[in-house]
């Protein structure tokens, strides 16, 4: 067990998979000598060379399509989109091509590729570099979507994503890159589709993923001081979603608070809430299913405004207290 950063865990996962399987390779903008905009791939060019660590021109649609085509013909590309906001430029290739190829060709091909992209605000990069875009691609059958919150999950889930025979969008959390956490040694693969109950509890379920997990856990810590036992669940993988874990937690506690950084309206919290309210758990609910999420605005530049639009630990705490009343 080593304490490493989230960025290092991602790099380790890729490097180990590349050593294991010659079909795995990387492509993206400035991932070589530059090491990626967030330094995740630093050093990989030196180890694997320019044939397998492929810097590309600034052409997101072509990069994504190139990954699709390479994947369809025997390779296992890992591509990087520098900021998840730019997935919009590659959206046709991701949504209409990668996600559809297998089905529309009657199972003749598979598309084993990973699209890595960092999301989230907090870096002062404003409206076009700070979004949390998961909801935009979660209504697309054929895609899988993962959003790890710890170095250990990042590593284990990325390994699973690379080995998966489907297109997986791997949403990294910008503000977590420099955070450290324990990561088990060896080849640990965490299957997609399994939520993680980070903290068991009985009075209220706090369901979240990504960067908000830390705040949810802090809030749970505080709640414990009030004698409120909060169960905190990290979804980790958004599609496939661990509905069983969600529903059984809701049944157990009867009170659910959903937290995410992405804007509230039309966000993925809706799917989680709807899943609960159309399940057996409905009959166990003691309170409305509450969503706490980013404000419905583009991300502003000013740091106070920027910080002011995402759920804070205090807001989570207040909502949980209110729910648990």
């Amino acid at each position: 067990m080593n304490e490493i950063t989230y960025a290092q865990a991602i790099k380790d996962a890729m490097s180990e998979e590349m050593r294991r399987d010659p079909k795995v390779f990387l492509l993206g903008e400035d991932i070589g000598a530059y090491g990626g905009a967030f330094g995740v791939t630093r050093g990989m060019l030196e180890e694997f060379g320019p044939d397998r660590i492929r810097d590309t021109p600034i052409s997101e649609a072509a990069i994504t399509g190139a990954a699709v085509g390479a994947a369809m013909t025997g390779m296992r590309p890992i591509m990087e989109i520098m900021f998840s906001d730019f997935i919009t430029i590659a959206m046709d290739q991701l949504v209409n091509q990668a996600a559809k190829a297998r089905y529309q060709f009657g199972g003749q091909v598979s598309v084993p590729m990973v699209l890595r992209a960092p999301e989230g605000s907090g870096t002062g990069a404003a409206a076009q570099h700070s979004q949390s875009i998961e909801a935009w691609i979660l209504n697309v059958p054929g895609l899988k979507v993962v959003a790890p919150s710890t170095p250990a999950d990042a590593k284990g889930l990325l390994k699973a994503s690379i080995r998966d025979d489907n297109p997986v969008v791997f949403l990294e959390q910008k503000l977590l890159y420099r955070k450290k956490g324990p990561v088990p040694d060896g080849d640990v693969v965490i299957p997609l589709g399994k939520a993680d109950v980070n903290r068991p509890g009985t009075d209220i379920s706090i369901i979240s993923y990504g960067r908000m997990m830390e705040r949810c856990l802090q809030a749970a810590e505080e709640l414990a001081k009030d004698g409120i036992s909060a169960e905190v669940m990290d979804l980790r993988s958004l599609r496939p979603l661990d509905t069983e874990a969600i529903v059984s937690s809701a049944i157990k506690t009867g009170r659910v608070l959903i937290v995410h950084e992405a804007c509230r309206f039309g966000g993925f919290g809706g799917e989680i809430a709807a899943t609960i309210c159309d399940s057996e758990a409905f009959f166990y609910l003691d309170a409305p299913v509450r969503r706490l999420a980013g404000k419905d605005v583009p991300i502003p530049y000013n740091k106070y405004l920027e910080a002011g639009i995402v759920p804070t630990t205090e807001a989570i705490l207040a909502a949980a207290r209110d729910l648990a009343k």
Partner: protein, 318 residues
């Protein structure tokens, strides 16, 4: 040019088969047997056939929405193609793709695309995979004049050019992108000029002359396998409407008639006859054979079962 007789025969057979396939498909449409739409390449057969004749069996193609000729020329089984057209369980895509998504991976046809320009980056990826896996293979990416105005055209050719990938970008310029005349959709008259943006060779050829297309494709393949991408522009004409829902308001009957006179099948036949390589009877024989093959395909497709609703959730994920 000394092309073996079998090669010539094979080329004409593919063109005749394409024509027969499409004329039959139109008949099936008018009989109300087809749900959906289709894009016919009548008048453009020399492009798919000439290109596929000029490449090697191990090469891959990416086809377009107007891809019947490309698919057939690459050696696709027409029974399973017709079955797909009718949405049957025995279709090459199990009835899920339809004629806009015909693919036959076993025959090196990686699939037609319903998104104009959508296949171009994917073809580049296949060419990249080719190089990385050190396979002796070239990828041919078909697309239209209209598609050459999509951003993917630009990004993809640029990417392929900096990586010197073994790929031929085959632009079928049939004078229209749906209703927009190519002269209105761009400010240049020779699409091959666009190659100069990427430092790669551009070639333009009469797309109604199958022998010229064949020769150009051979040359382009040769270049691609050694030195990287080529933009090969095939000038031809779409005789039928864009799809089933086209009233033709955007062009004159005279223009269509003029191009009908340039029919690539007739033209090829007259060359073959003139050069004394084939007799009229032999040509008629190939035509009859094509008709029979397509008739068989229709019988196969019509007698095939509809896919079961149980299959609808299959193949979403691998």
């Amino acid at each position: 040019m000394t092309i073996p007789r079998e090669k010539l025969e094979d080329m004409y057979r593919k063109m005749a088969l394409t024509r027969a396939f499409e004329e039959t498909a139109m008949r099936l449409f008018s009989l109300g047997k087809v749900h959906g739409t289709a894009h016919f390449c009548i008048g453009e057969e020399a492009t798919g056939t000439g290109v596929c004749a000029g490449i090697q069996p191990q090469d891959l193609i990416y086809a377009t929405h107007r891809g019947h000729g490309q698919s057939i020329s690459k050696g696709m089984n027409v029974d399973r193609m017709m079955a797909e057209f009718l949405g049957k369980a025995t279709g090459v895509c199990k009835g899920k793709g339809g004629c806009m998504h015909i693919a036959d991976v076993s025959a090196g046809n990686l699939g037609a695309n319903g998104i104009v320009g959508g296949g171009i980056p994917i073809a580049v990826g296949a060419a990249l995979g080719t190089v990385m896996q050190k396979i002796d293979r070239v990828v041919v990416c078909f697309f239209g004049d209209g598609a050459s105005n999509e951003g993917t055209f630009h990004e993809s050719i640029n990417l392929a050019s900096v990586w010197k990938l073994p790929i031929v970008f085959a632009c079928v310029n049939n004078c229209y992108g749906m209703s927009m005349k190519v002269t209105a959709s761009m400010n240049i008259t020779d699409i091959a000029l666009r190659a100069s943006s990427y430092g790669i060779p551009g070639m333009t050829v009469d797309g109604n002359d199958v022998l010229a297309v064949y020769a150009a494709a051979q040359e382009a393949r040769e270049h691609a396998s050694r030195n990287g991408p080529v933009l090969l522009v095939l000038n031809t004409y779409r005789i039928m409407g864009h799809s089933k829902s086209d009233s033709g308001a955007y062009r004159t009957k005279e223009e269509v008639e003029e191009w009908k006179r340039k029919d690539p099948l007739k033209r090829f036949v007259s060359t073959l006859l003139q050069q004394g390589l084939f007799t009229e009877a032999e040509i008629a024989g190939i035509d009859a054979e094509a008709a029979a093959v397509i008739e068989h395909a229709v019988a196969y497709a019509e007698s095939s079962p509809e896919p079961s609703l149980d299959t609808v959730e299959q193949d979403v994920y691998a």
